[in-house]
Symmetry: C2
Amino acid sequence: MNYRHLFSSDVPSFMRSPVREIFRKVDLSAICSFAGGYPAAVTFPVEDLRSLPGLVLDKYGTKALQYGATQGVPELREAIAKRYNVPVSMVQITTSSQQGIDVCTRILVDPGDVILTTEPTYLGALQSFKAYRADVRPISSVRPPKPGEVCADAPAPKPHYKFIYVIPDFNNPSGETMSLAEREQIVALARELDIIIVEDSPYREIRYTGEDVPMIRELAPERTLHLGSFSKIFAPGFRLGWIIGPEELLEQIYICKQALDLCPPVFDQYMATEFLTSGALDANLVKTKAEYRRRRDLMVSLLDKYMPEGVKWTYPEGGLFLFLTLPEGVDTIEMYDEALSKGVAYVAGSFFYLDGSHRNTMRLNFSFVAEEKMEPGMKLLGEIVKKRIDGTKTL
Amino acid sequence: MNYRHLFSSDVPSFMRSPVREIFRKVDLSAICSFAGGYPAAVTFPVEDLRSLPGLVLDKYGTKALQYGATQGVPELREAIAKRYNVPVSMVQITTSSQQGIDVCTRILVDPGDVILTTEPTYLGALQSFKAYRADVRPISSVRPPKPGEVCADAPAPKPHYKFIYVIPDFNNPSGETMSLAEREQIVALARELDIIIVEDSPYREIRYTGEDVPMIRELAPERTLHLGSFSKIFAPGFRLGWIIGPEELLEQIYICKQALDLCPPVFDQYMATEFLTSGALDANLVKTKAEYRRRRDLMVSLLDKYMPEGVKWTYPEGGLFLFLTLPEGVDTIEMYDEALSKGVAYVAGSFFYLDGSHRNTMRLNFSFVAEEKMEPGMKLLGEIVKKRIDGTKTL
């Protein structure tokens, strides 16, 4: 049977994640993988999870196993509200922060509407945006006409801007953090265009050096949908996140979510509640941050040791990634099969750019790879890069 | 700030669940609620859940806490494939069977496309369909022109049919089961229109009397998306369901689901895997079915005792609901506030009809209400109904 005539018009815009496609084809455990964005398994609170389920059953009984409120269970909403100092009415629990991205897009975007994003940016967000046939553009594409500026041609129709998407803290993939001035510029642009900001913030709690910068939500609470995640501070196997935002927007998200999945996983929400309110989350976070800091330092020292001249990288103050820029002319997509066959994986940086440019960049993840594989993997990657740079020079 | 200019065109079609709105406003624990569709808490395998989490941690380690495959963890897909005798490639795990409905609609329906449904039908499905601006019509609206039939007017443009939605086993809300002949008619219609059938089957495993009828999936595997759910056979607090269907359709669902929530809850999937493969699920199901059978029998006996003449009800062989038809002229929506204020809740049957007709019907749930409340609740409901019937006669 042929199904093509039955598919919705969104389907041709569905975009496979190149990262997930790699996972599908290759046994990553057999190689050194700097690809992916998995947290380190050692950060998972396994010991807490030995007692949490029983504690939840004792304290909440069968309520923890029943359907729950679409907005999330009140206890978890209250815990999040308290942690971020906002009213409970501004908190919606989501079934993963990926669902947060999806549902924000769903309530705001029609096909052809414009979403503005910083670059490089999160692939999973681009997948959601494209799946709704949004016209995703870099922020730099907005240049409002200056007063007195002469228009040679008839003005183009004004794009239907809907929101700006940003990952201000420890960006995926770049690892970089936006300064306060940059955040204020984002807010100014959103105000000028009278649109929303979707502040995707899954790594904010994983800062291991430097000082917190105010959240965009704090600068413009009336127009920010702030997305949080339990994946890096609890465990991604529980699909739990949250949205903090204006009640009028959350109301539409609430109605939409009824049809999406009725409610977030209830048992998991109660486990997260107990993990958070008991203080175990913060205790675990101290260990998590120390682990990631150590791993970042190790990766940076290996880059120093093995990368040839002309290669640059970001220095993240938190999160799970850093971003490499190789000399112009070295193509990380062309290089990929060689790297994989020799036993090292990364994600080509051009996937994180809307126009597929920056083909001389790559994302490296330092949280998931087994530590003993990091040095041989980086040595290998350094050699492959060096060979490519030398090849470029002889051309 | 005003957000209206920013909402997508889907938003005005979002439909609140009248059932969930009742839950929001009323403390149902204080009254006798035959509303809602919650499973009985006594059917939850609490004792198994004392040991399952530890068992999962021992057996699967941190894999159970990490991100998982978008299609679902292999172990659970295999267990479902084995139970339903299909290849693993035909199984997609979903984050609730509500998500199954949503994602099937997402990949198949553009605004204005026609979804055909039997009536009365599941409200949560209507919410999903309307949220994609589908044109939802009763199956009876399809009447292909007979050969030789004369068309007086110019033929209307052919509707863009996409799928037929049915709940063949113990329908929500009616509790009724489709006969084999009726299922074959559905399949014949789908073949004639060359469209898909979405077979929503959350209650199929909860049959306590009578004989199984073949699934529509078995009659037309090439064009059926069969939706299953763990909510009534494990616990709804774990948001887990599955889709069995043709690989070409599951492939699009898989790509779409990457953007929806990356993967279903992993820890919960492993608990469901162990619960299912150990035989504990089937052992628990025996108890669940005995419990629901007893509750159905109790409700039917109370209806016999307290409902005045002229009231009819369905006799479900499985599932959680039965459906009442009162004499013409008695309006269950008008009657609702009186019932609620006196302490008994139900769901008006007209919510389950596309045109809001059948205002003399109601859905009664017998799984969730505390057993000791059933008799006083039904006595009250009988009195309210009798008063209304008498009022209709005097008009």
